[in-house]
Amino acid sequence: MLYREAGDFKTTYRADQQTFPIKSERILFWAFIAFAFLIVPFFINDYWNKAVLMPLLIYSMAALGLNILVGYCGQVSLGTGGFMAVGAFACYKLMTAFPGMDMFSVVILSGFVTAAVGIIFGLPSLRIKGFYLAVATLAAQFFLVWVFNKFAWFYNYSASGQITAPERSIFGIAVTGPSTAPWATYLFALTILFVFGWIARNLTRGRLGRSWMAIRDMDIAAEIIGVSPLKAKLSAFAISSFYIGIAGAMFFANYLGAAEVGEAFGIDKSFLVLFMVIIGGLGSILGSFLGAAFLVLLPVLLKNLMVGYLGWATDLAAHIQIMLVGGLIVFFLIAEPHGLAQLWRITKEKLRIWPFPY
């Protein structure tokens, strides 16, 4: 038995508002964090880092950002790939223009640049909603990719049109470039995700989060209680883009090392992150992590199972994987719009009354 919520009544409002109101859950969480920070770095190898851990951390960051916009504020976006590209190119330009700058600052500044771009592309949301907004953000996606292809200044006029991350470090430890250690990039991404995951949780549980959700649930009523739609929507676009920009910067600099915009940040990225948010749970911080984990791990698992174990052809396995993900999206949209996070909550409730359901 992991969970026992029974008899757990709160005596103060503070205790009632905790992120993990149940003690066993709190312990589990911190044990998990300790494991991720203190144990994993000692056992990490290049395969795990590249195939599982880095994508997991980086997509979690992107999913967090998109969930703020779509899940909390209700503004649909198909521009995630484009915004990740903004983060990546901002990162590249900063790395090459200021070689002395530490990587942490580079990544954060890239986030700010993306936030500014996000505000601009968020402006249509003041006029249009739903499907039309989705199309507008889709246009942003294609526009941004086109811009980064078209203007050679962005890739410093390199012949290949690619951007390549030079070696940059933090505290003297290289976290980008060809000679990084897996544990270094891992810890770098983990720290950033931890800090900004915590911030996302804080932002969504307070006034700002409630004003986003108010806009999402009923924008007219939100306005009469004093929410400015302009401020709420644009702040959601800004903060969402900030997160996605950081994800894009890390995806390029810490993970890929070199990137070509159409390939690395195409429309498929936009859909992938959106699927993560839908499967994980709209309007849930935990859901962002679960969704990212699910869609990062599933292909790895399936590949190992179907190709490695059953010996099927790679392309067959890939097709089955696409079908499976598609089926799951349909399932979650219809059966459980609150995603894995909700399934997790329900399981907990079941466990609480287990073994006597009456």
């Binding site: 804080n202 307070g206 700002l208 649930d217 007219i220 306005e223 009469i224 209680i225 004093g226 702040s235």
Partner: protein, 279 residues
């Protein structure tokens, strides 16, 4: 002061005093006209709402009552006329600005935030009163959390007051209609409004629920001193609750005065004869 057993010496109105004395006009509606294309929803209506009173707005269906509230809280911009609230004359105003000036309201059709719990819905009512900026909120520990707890306490008073303690964590979508109306009142109250607009707060309720709601409205008015303008079709309720009544018909004002005066007004009697309304 009414020393009720339930709430709440702690629940105090934190809005700055506007210097308007009880009984003086808090809201003045002056020669307002509003039309949608060819449809004239409101023609040349003037009336006032005095501080501390319960002012009823009545009239047959389609008379323009809801439109009038929409003008007052900035949803509709009238083609003619002015609104003066707390001594400030205004022309065009957005609803969220009206909220910041101290106008709260409920809707004829419930407009709660369906994805949020009762508690969160009522907490949203305090958005205009929460001041901590983005950085404090991101940090949470310290001022932002302290502020949140302070507002949580006020909201709990409202929850006690409305007798909805048992459902505070329930998503509002799962509640029956009558309770949803009550939660919506709670959200409006949470803003500690100077003027509370209620659009048919008792529509679709059974007798018991109506009695509860009437009691809450009276208590709000008497204990918190909140000025209330309310639209209602149930004449019994209107006569019991309100200090003064304004009567609309086809977008015109046809009566204005105490419940007794209005009841004996021939124009009002004529307007209501043969008009079917949902009571």
């Amino acid at each position: 002061m009414n020393m009720h057993t339930k709430p709440s010496q702690e629940f105090v109105m934190t809005r700055p005093d506007d210097g308007i004395k009880v009984g003086d006009p808090l809201l003045v509606v002056d020669h307002i006209s509003l039309s949608f294309g060819g449809v004239k929803a409101i023609s040349d209506i003037s009336f006032d709402v005095r501080k501390g009173e319960i002012r009823a707005i009545i009239g047959p269906n389609g008379a323009g009552k809801t439109s009038m509230l929409n003008v007052i809280n900035g949803f509709y911009h009238p083609q003619e006329g002015t609104i003066t609230f707390r001594g400030e004359k205004r022309t065009k105003m957005k609803p969220h600005v009206a909220a910041h000036q101290g106008i709260a309201r409920t809707f004829q059709n419930i407009a709660l935030f369906k994805g949020m719990s009762v508690l969160d819905n009522i907490m949203t009512g305090r958005i205009t009163l929460q001041k901590r900026n983005l950085l404090w909120q991101a940090l949470w520990r310290g001022p932002a959390e302290a502020e949140e707890l302070e507002h949580r306490r006020s909201v709990e008073h409202i929850i006690d007051f409305l007798e909805i303690e048992a459902i505070r964590k329930t998503p509002v979508g799962r509640l029956p209609y009558g309770l949803q109306k009550r939660v919506e009142l709670g959200r409006a109250l949470a803003a500690e409004p100077a003027l509370l607009l209620l659009d048919e707060p008792m529509a679709g309720m059974n007798l018991e629920e109506k009695e509860d709601m009437s009691r809450f409205i009276l208590d709000v008015n008497q204990q918190f001193g909140t000025t209330i303008a309310l639209i209602e079709h149930d004449m019994g309720v209107v006569m019991d609750l309100s200090d003064r009544v304004v009567v609309l018909d086809y977008g015109r004002k046809i009566g204005d005065g105490t419940p007794d005066e209005v009841r004996n007004n021939q124009d009002v009697i004529d307007a209501y004869l043969g008009v079917s309304h949902d009571e």
